[in-house]
């Protein structure tokens, strides 16, 4: 047998061949280029077109970016320097304007010896926001988050320390009322009592008490007027206030819109649809020329505060619709399960409905945040000096008359960094909270 076999079959492989790399045309960079860039004539044309676009953009842009002047003190000097360095006929960016004015673009006309205050406020803001954004940050920082609105406002505007403390005490008193009345008389009575206590404190008691403290322990920062605020400081101030205020307000509006109570529902729907139906600029007109008409004669409060209120209301209406989407997307069984457990309305919302509804609406919430932050540029139309308003102010200086691209580019880049990181954070959050099995 073995003899015949040996005669008929000349060669039998008794070991496996080692695995070979796939041919170059099926794997590796060449294959990748083939399937992704040059698959078919249409694909090839698109690739070549894209390459052409990229090439010409870079050819136009890179020399302009690089052949630039950083040291000049006026636009004409900039041009002269660039011609001197890179030869006749070259045009380049005049980054000197950014170098000279970047502090103004960031702080506006805030007194330069007080720059540490907004800077400190910004650093503290990061620490105050961190425990909300990231789980690994120590929980103790949440105390900073609670007092930050008052601390930040004090740092920015200055003045006596007792005013923000007084305003904060209103919330403390309201909280204490809920704690003490709540155990004896039930939640609703406690809530009403807390609101009454806080309002009485703010309207009638706070003023004299603050004055008393101010006289006995004068502890104050140099006050800074709102007119001096500007630049990215102003954008961030308005943006952060609107973002922080619009989420709770938006949740309440969304709950109101979903509620069975007819009057509450119609009020919420009316508010939301009205705000969403008009452009932000008309609300800013209201803030700049009309809000004082609707307030008691003689009141004249800060333009920045008025703008912040209007932008917050505007953002809240959009937020309400986003949250309502999340509420509507939640299966009805969740509501029924909460009822079956015997939870009352607020407990059910807090423990079961809201955590899920907010998780669903994260992308919408963050894109509303980004939209609000971008919309803070609109305040330049009513004459506040946000970065865009400042760019006009800088151009009205004879030394920099005619500088356009450098300023717009810088402002656009800053906004891009802020907004892009916000959208990336929302993606991170979505992944972190992803518990489904899809």
């Amino acid at each position: 047998m073995s003899g015949t076999h040996a005669e008929t079959v000349r060669y039998v492989r008794d070991t496996m061949l080692p695995e070979q790399a796939p041919p170059l045309s099926a794997a590796g960079p060449i294959a990748w280029v083939r399937t992704n860039l040059f698959a078919g004539w249409f694909n090839t044309i698109m690739t070549l077109l894209s390459l052409a676009v990229i090439f010409f953009t870079l050819v136009e842009l890179v020399p302009w970016l690089v052949q630039s002047s950083w040291t000049a003190t006026s636009l004409n000097e900039c041009r002269a320097q660039i011609v001197e360095m890179y030869g006749e006929g070259t045009t380049g960016a005049c980054w000197a304007v950014i170098r000279e004015r970047y502090l103004q673009l960031i702080y506006g006309f805030y007194p330069s010896e007080l720059y540490w205050r907004p800077s400190l406020a910004f650093v503290l803001l990061i620490f105050a926001v961190a425990p909300i954004l990231f789980e690994r940050v120590p929980r103790a920082l949440l105390y900073l988050t609670v007092i930050y609105p008052f601390l930040g406002a004090w740092l920015m505007w200055g003045g006596t320390v007792w005013l923000p403390i007084g305003a904060f005490m209103g919330f403390v008193f309201a909280y204490l009322t809920i704690r003490f009345v709540g155990t004896r008389a039930g939640a609703i009575v406690a809530a009403i009592a807390a609101v009454v206590v806080a309002i009485v404190w703010w309207l009638f008691l706070m003023g004299p008490v603050v004055q008393e403290f101010e006289q006995s322990i004068p502890l104050a920062l140099e006050p800074v007027e709102s007119r001096a605020f500007g630049g990215f400081m102003l954008s961030i101030l308005i943006g952060v206030t609107a973002i922080a205020g619009s989420l709770p307000l938006g949740i309440l509006l969304a709950l109101g819109r979903q509620s069975d109570l007819f009057i509450v529902k119609s009020l919420c729907v009316g508010f939301i649809e009205f705000i969403r139906g008009v452009p932000l600029i008309t609300l800013l007109f209201v803030a700049s020329v009309l809000l004082n008409v609707f307030l008691p004669p003689g009141t004249n409060f800060d333009i920045i505060l008025r703008v912040m209120i209007m932008v917050t209301l505007f953002a809240a209406a959009y937020m309400a619709e986003v949250v309502r989407g999340g509420l509507a997307a939640l299966p009805k069984g969740q509501y029924e399960a909460a009822d079956a457990l015997g939870l009352d309305y607020w407990k059910a919302q807090r423990l079961i409905i809201m955590p899920q509804a907010l998780k669903i609406s994260i992308p919408g919430i963050v894109s509303t945040f980004i939209g609000v932050f971008k919309d803070t540029t609109l305040v330049s139309i009513i004459g506040l000096l946000d970065p865009l308003g400042l760019s006009n102010a800088i151009r009205s200086d004879t030394a920099w008359n005619g500088v356009v691209w450098e300023l717009y580019g810088f402002i656009a880049l800053m906004f891009f960094i802020f907004c892009f990181s916000m959208s990336r954070y929302s993606m991170y959050l979505e992944r972190k909270l992803q518990t489904g099995h899809r």
Partner: protein, 418 residues
């Protein structure tokens, strides 16, 4: 014996308004209503006091006064002697003009970019991603002023078109001039024009335009009938007659005949003196606003289109192929209708956003309704309350009508579930 047992009569106690869930909702609503009415009364009384102190009565008669300012980009007749009301109306038409132009361009660009972003071609999809991120993460106001700067700074001035050896030349066989003062395009003229009809004696509408629109509508309706008939034949016999050329002829033919009958020709703009004369002058402000709004909104529409296409599961395509549908008909009959259901509602809310963002025209001096009624009229007359109120009402009316269309469409295409 029947024993009638009445439920024990509860006497009503005041505490039940809070603790009894039957009455609690009434209490809450009553409190909310009273609170709202108190707030409104407070605001109104403050406003009344303040306005009385300023000596400003509330009234809209100022709208009938002559406006006294010029509007350079307008669709209807307007002079500085016209009334404020007419100025506001010119502004409203300008708002609608830029909104319609913007929505059209943004849709086209958005669909193309959204589809290309899904392309298997790596470079193309990256490029489109960069476009989308760049436009979405930078404020639209910045884009508007940026485009305005591009138009003013980079385009040739009309002077560059003059002389024996001009540095700039008109495009498309000397019909379109792109200058830093705006774009000049030919205007349609009719030698046998039918004239204008006057609406309420306020402004004229060209009868030629109305006739053309009517003929176009009739053509579209006839083409639709042909398609319906083709559908019926296909239902009955399984064969679909080829009708595309009939439909094309029905749409294009009558319009062409009408144009010839009316003596249609183009009026070109020419360089006279320091500027171009004749033709239609699209100002820089309009072009900058239009481009910025369209490109900005297109980035959002691209994302909507992309998610809409991704939302249709691949099983639908496979099922359609299994039924023997061609790729074209699969796209038209299976994929698109389902993708549209996802795409349309956010798309219309983008149209709404674009319309509302057009109010930023004031930053580049385009006279839309915010620029006329909320800008010059308000500043000249000092009637802030009335002007802002009217302005809000106008935008609210536009928004609500677009929303109404959206709701109608949503109801029409809603999935009827079990």
């Amino acid at each position: 014996m029947t024993i009638v047992t009445d439920p024990p009569k509860e006497s009503f106690r005041l505490g039940m308004l809070i603790y009894d869930s039957r009455y609690r909702s009434l209490t809450i609503q009553a409190v909310a209503l009273i609170g709202f009415m108190l707030l409104a009364a407070w605001l109104i009384s403050n406003a009344a006091q303040n306005l009385a102190a300023l000596g400003k009565p509330i009234g809209f008669d100022y709208l009938a006064d002559p406006a006294g300012y010029d509007i350079n980009q307008r669709l209807i007749e307007y002079t500085s002697r016209s009334t404020h009301l007419r100025a506001a109306f010119v502004g409203l038409l300008n708002t609608l003009l830029v909104a319609v132009l913007g929505c059209a361009l943004a849709t086209v660009l958005g669909v193309i970019i959204g589809v290309l972003r899904l392309s298997r071609n790596w470079i193309v999809s990256r490029l489109m991603a960069i476009y989308v991120e760049a436009f979405r993460n930078v404020p639209v106001l910045l884009w508007i002023v940026f485009f305005m700067a591009v138009l003013i700074e980079t385009l040739p001035s009309p002077r560059a078109f003059r002389g024996d050896d001009p540095t700039a030349s008109m495009l498309l066989n000397d019909t379109v001039a792109i200058t830093n003062r705006g774009v000049y395009i030919p205007e349609p003229l009719f030698t046998r024009s039918l004239g204008d009809i006057s609406v309420f004696g306020a402004f004229g509408i060209s009868i030629d335009l109305l006739v053309l629109l009517a003929v176009l509508a009739a053509g579209l309706w006839a083409a639709h009938r042909v398609a319906v008939r083709a559908d019926a034949i296909q239902e009955a016999t399984g064969d679909r007659p080829t009708t595309w050329w009939q439909r094309l002829l029905l749409i294009v033919g009558p319009v062409l005949v009408t144009l010839i009958a009316l003596g249609f020709h183009l009026g070109y703009s020419e360089l006279k003196g320091f500027n171009f004369q004749g033709g239609i002058h699209l100002r820089n402000s309009l072009i900058a606003l239009w481009l910025a709004l369209s490109l900005y909104t297109a980035a959002f529409i691209a994302e909507i289109v992309r998610s809409g296409i991704l939302a249709v599961s691949h099983g639908q395509t496979e099922a359609a192929y299994a039924l023997g549908l061609s790729p074209n008909r699969t796209m038209n009959l299976v994929i698109l209708p389902q993708a549209m259901r996802v795409i349309i509602p956010p798309l219309i809310s983008q149209y709404l956003n674009l319309t509302k963002n057009s109010s930023l025209a004031i930053a580049v001096g385009y006279m839309d309704i915010t620029g006329t009624l909320g800008g010059i009229t308000m500043n000249q007359t000092g009637r802030e309350l009335e002007s802002v109120l009217l302005l809000m009402l106008v935008y609210l009316a536009i928004s609500l009508s677009i929303s109404a269309v959206m709701n109608w469409y949503n109801n029409r295409v809603k999935l009827v579930e079990r």
